[in-house]
Symmetry: C2
Subunit: 216 residues, 2 copies
């Protein structure tokens, strides 16, 4: 089995590496990165590199697709992007099409979420309605062969569920223990429902600044 990560310059590192380090542990599975052009693709800070062995044009029948997010996704949706065109073409044939964080906006722009319930990064979630989707305030939303995750760190939860679907719950539990995923956040601020209003406002302001920078 092959897991295909759809990469683009400016992806959020943890969006992609969380699911990568879960899915690559599945026995008999290989992971590949594809992008608009083959070659190295760097994250939002220009530091972390993933190697796109092939371009979108060279991968027409991916089995399982994972799409990370990033501030740049809004510009990709606004201006169009080869990744969105590729998703539109390949999705009818995939076994699973999945996203982390604002990767769901790319799924939406490709028509994948039309008429479906889905989730996204909390700041962007309502934007899913623009694509005919019903936004849900859930960590991971599975609807048939489309699985969407909430913000950044949710990719670990999403990928463990995906492993369970691909190979069974025992396989997923083995990987969960292998990465010792027994989370213990030091604060209870991981959701806008539990964070203080000041923290929520601070993150909204930062996201707005990041979006402005990514759109420039």
């Amino acid at each position: 089995m092959e897991i295909t990560f759809a990469a683009f310059p400016g992806f959020t590192a943890l969006d992609l590496i969380g699911p990568y380090d879960v899915l690559a542990r599945l026995p008999g599975t290989s992971v590949q990165f594809v992008a608009a052009e083959s070659g190295p693709v760097t994250d939002s800070r220009g530091l972390i590199e993933v190697p796109a062995a092939r371009s979108f044009a060279e991968v027409s029948q991916p089995e399982v697709v994972v799409v990370p997010g990033g501030a740049i996704t809004r510009r990709m949706v606004r201006d169009g992007h080869p990744l969105i065109d590729w998703l539109r073409e390949v999705h009818p044939h995939t076994r699973f099409t999945t996203s982390v964080c604002t990767g769901s906006l790319l799924l939406g722009a490709a028509g994948v979420l039309d008429g479906l319930e889905a989730t996204s990064y909390w700041v962007a979630r309502e934007q899913l309605a623009d694509f005919g989707a019903t936004p849900l305030d859930e960590r991971v939303v599975e609807r048939g062969r489309v699985i969407t995750g909430a913000g950044v760190s949710s990719g670990i939860d999403m990928a463990l569920l995906l492993v369970a679907r691909l190979a069974g719950e025992e396989a997923a539990q083995i990987i969960q223990l292998a990465i010792e995923y027994d989370p213990a956040p030091p604060f209870d601020a991981g959701s806008p429902a539990t964070a203080s209003p000041a923290i929520v406002a601070a993150v909204r302001a930062r996201v707005a600044a990041n979006l402005a920078a990514a759109s420039a």
Copy 2:
């Protein structure tokens, strides 16, 4: 402020990228990667690359050090490694010396944990006693300016605590919400205390196989 990640070929991707995506979000902070030689350093699967801008010899006074783990750490401890020598030299001057997963074995080999309580990947935790440390079954152990995390995914929890120490709890909560770290694992198998005996045995067998491959 500068956060220095001590990289080595064969690091576990999520060990490093979890803390990276937390710590790089701290305003006024830059991250750098250092390694035995400057240049790209690849993860255990030879796919993910981090750019070591400088070699250990060129970084003599790092402020905050983060050391990831990987199966290769056992060979590094057995055979000696420039990272261990560097840790021994720089630790007396750091503000914080920290590790994720079996990165704590490298701290131990450098003498950093002598007489301290510390944690590590659950499979390797007892090995900390070889370095004069007292192993604790905890997600994150903070003793003065030495902070150690449990396996792989614990680096997110460790890094959030580190941010709180460096910049206050509000700064840490902002980052926790920014990465929507409100974990919801689909199974309760993230610790050997909650996973079934069959799952624990399966992970032990896989780790043994990984260690054998990494030692060869």
